[in-house]
Point group: C2
Chain length 396, copies 2
């Protein structure tokens, strides 16, 4: 994989600066939110992080983007958290490069960037601007196999330093879907006084055994790639086949069986012949195989395999009640208004898990169902279905 450029046209973390260790410090062009155009990745040094595992991550940097202007009383900041392989480009900015949640955020959208100051942060461990396995450790070499396990609680604590640096005492709202929803929930529970509204979409209160199981298969697919080299593959061939396989497995779970069947059925890919070869190795592909090949190869071109592992491990760690008692007890301190939503056809993050979360949250929280046959990915493609709920409840 070569991260030539992210979708925003800004180089990925392989080229991110890695300032020396130090306490959280906003750089002049960062705190103002002004000198860098909207929707452009910028970077903030947040210093050393003590992690849940007991390890320390020194000299961490967070990549982030912003849109709009923080108002005088700093009350209009909205944090949007990306999902597993997402980046910070939620919506278009100075460039017309489209973002991944434009139905949700942008001028005139429910999260109106003419009204709100919108922030999106690359998760620690990622490859879109934040410190991750592909960025240099203090010794100048990529972290690689040495990169520590960064839980969602760790990354939330890191993001609080960025909020500090931006002068955001409390978020008007924190929103996210899938892993992004887990990040939003962790924010609302870790820092109750800093989250006034919280939308948790397409994820439950913790990663379940099945979700951990699918995640393990994906990380193993990468780790078993002969080019993985224990995670120290930078400068050599990269574990592209393993990452592409991981993505195939994941992508199946992101779509519903019905969606795959309606789109592809048992069709052969173009003129390929799935039954027409003398040996197994030579047969043609079914259309759905070709589709998943494409999904895998597409990710390989834009994502680092170690980051895929690091963030998947973070998602496996998702458990808002860890060390906080029973789920109801764990959620009790949260003071945010919550909005919980799920895709009705989701077969990975089942609506029942969103309902269980909603029931355990303080107050009377209902679950909004996104109706989409596509499966989990409906949280991206059909987020517009939540526009009226978001406007009524959060952004009226």
């Amino acid at each position: 994989m070569t991260i030539a450029a992210t979708r925003t046209g800004v180089p990925g973390s392989k080229t991110a600066e890695t300032p020396a260790a130090g306490p959280a410090a906003a750089e002049p062009d960062t705190a103002s939110g002004r000198t860098v155009p909207d929707g452009t990745v910028r970077h903030l040094r947040i210093g050393d992080l003590d992690l849940e595992s007991g390890a320390r991550l020194p000299a961490a940097t967070l990549g982030y983007e912003t849109w709009g202007t923080l108002n005088a009383d700093r009350s209009n900041a909205v944090l949007i958290e990306h999902a597993l392989t997402g980046d910070t480009h939620v919506t278009r900015g100075a460039s017309e490069e489209p973002g991944w949640w434009e139905q949700l955020a942008g001028p005139g959208a429910p999260v109106d960037t003419d009204k709100y100051f919108v922030v999106s942060i690359n998760i620690l461990g990622g490859c879109y601007g934040s410190t991750g396995p592909s960025t240099p450790a203090p010794d100048g070499a990529p972290w690689g196999s040495r990169f520590p396990l960064v839980t969602l609680r760790d990354t939330t604590a890191a993001e609080a330093r960025l909020a500090d640096a931006l002068g955001i005492r409390s978020w008007y709202a924190v929103l996210g879907g899938s892993l992004g929803g887990a990040r939003a929930l962790e924010w609302a529970v870790s820092f109750p006084e800093r989250v006034r509204r919280c939308a948790v979409i397409s994820i439950g209160a913790s990663s379940t055994a099945e979700q951990i199981a699918f995640a393990q298969a994906q990380t193993l697919a990468i780790r078993q790639d002969p080019s993985f080299n224990g995670g120290d593959y930078y400068g050599g061939p990269e574990p592209e086949a393993g990452l592409a396989l991981a993505r195939r497995i994941a992508h199946i779970t992101y779509r519903s069986a019905a969606e795959l069947d309606v789109r592809f059925g048992r069709n052969a890919q173009d003129s390929e012949a799935p039954l027409g070869a003398a040996s197994l190795a030579g047969r043609g592909r079914y259309q759905v195989e070709s589709y998943l090949d494409h999904q895998g190869n597409k990710l390989v071109r834009r994502f680092d395999a170690n980051s895929y592992i690091a963030i998947t491990e973070a998602l496996m760690s998702h458990d808002v009640s860890r060390g906080r008692g029973a789920l109801g007890e764990a959620l009790a301190p949260a003071t945010a208004d919550f909005l919980v939503a799920a895709v009705d056809s989701d077969r990975l993050y089942f609506p029942a898990q969103s309902r269980a979360l909603a029931e355990a949250l303080p107050g009377d929280v209902e679950v909004h169902l996104i109706e989409a046959p596509i499966g989990h990915d409906g949280f991206l493609t059909e987020i517009g279905q939540l526009s009226s709920q978001l406007r009524e409840n959060f952004f009226g």
Copy 2:
């Protein structure tokens, strides 16, 4: 992987004899069904096979087991077809080695081996007695990468030769679950006059796009193992890690999310610490990961990776209507009485697919639901739930 011995105590196909090519010919100890004890693998040379792909498989052998005695008018023969990694040992015989469907077949069971002559055939491509990638090709070397794609229709045609050799003109019944159910269905449609009753359990009329997708991930996991060597790994290290990963992926789909969550939840394995390590590579496992490690390693000890690919490809080929018109047209020639069943919690072979099959079958076929929270594997563990239906409809 070393197939030291199958569960029946009989060496696997690596040590199976490979007689010279020739027409189907029952050996003396085969046709009599007498000189070899019940529940012991025996072998039959069935000659050369012309395959759907256009390729030819020369000098094929089928491994099979039998129980009971074929009656004088040869009307009491029941064929039980195994699933993906199954073998021919349906139930115990001369040895007390337990079989995999003892709730269904055995003395006093619905398929009463005191009354019926029960036959079980190892699928072509397998590693439990039939010709497969690990058995010698005519040149004496293992087939390996040269093994052809054998569809379910091919393997059914091969099995018809075994029925011929045993003197079985028509089966009293053909039964199977999962892949075994697909094999049973293919029998009833390919040879309508030879199947009087047919039970198709936990599978639909064809492999769907999602089933193909999960299958592709599994075969890729093996093919991408550095020891796979294009399929020619015999005599060297074997693609154990790839096969174990394939099994993990499969096993997740064989169980329901609820079953995994109730059994394992987010528990750590013994004293291992999923969050407690300085680097990602060193962390402890969740219980569900350890469980899937165990499932993967268990299969590696008893199964050949190429056979896993060959049979998975056969399952991908499952489409009873291929070349036979619409599903209703394709099924119309079948004259068997059908029994269709599904596990209510199955998330791979959905009950809806069994219902679609039942609706398309000639006559009025209802779907019996096995009630089991476990998921797909309920077709093995809970088959006893069909005992009364099987006795009433088939074996009264």
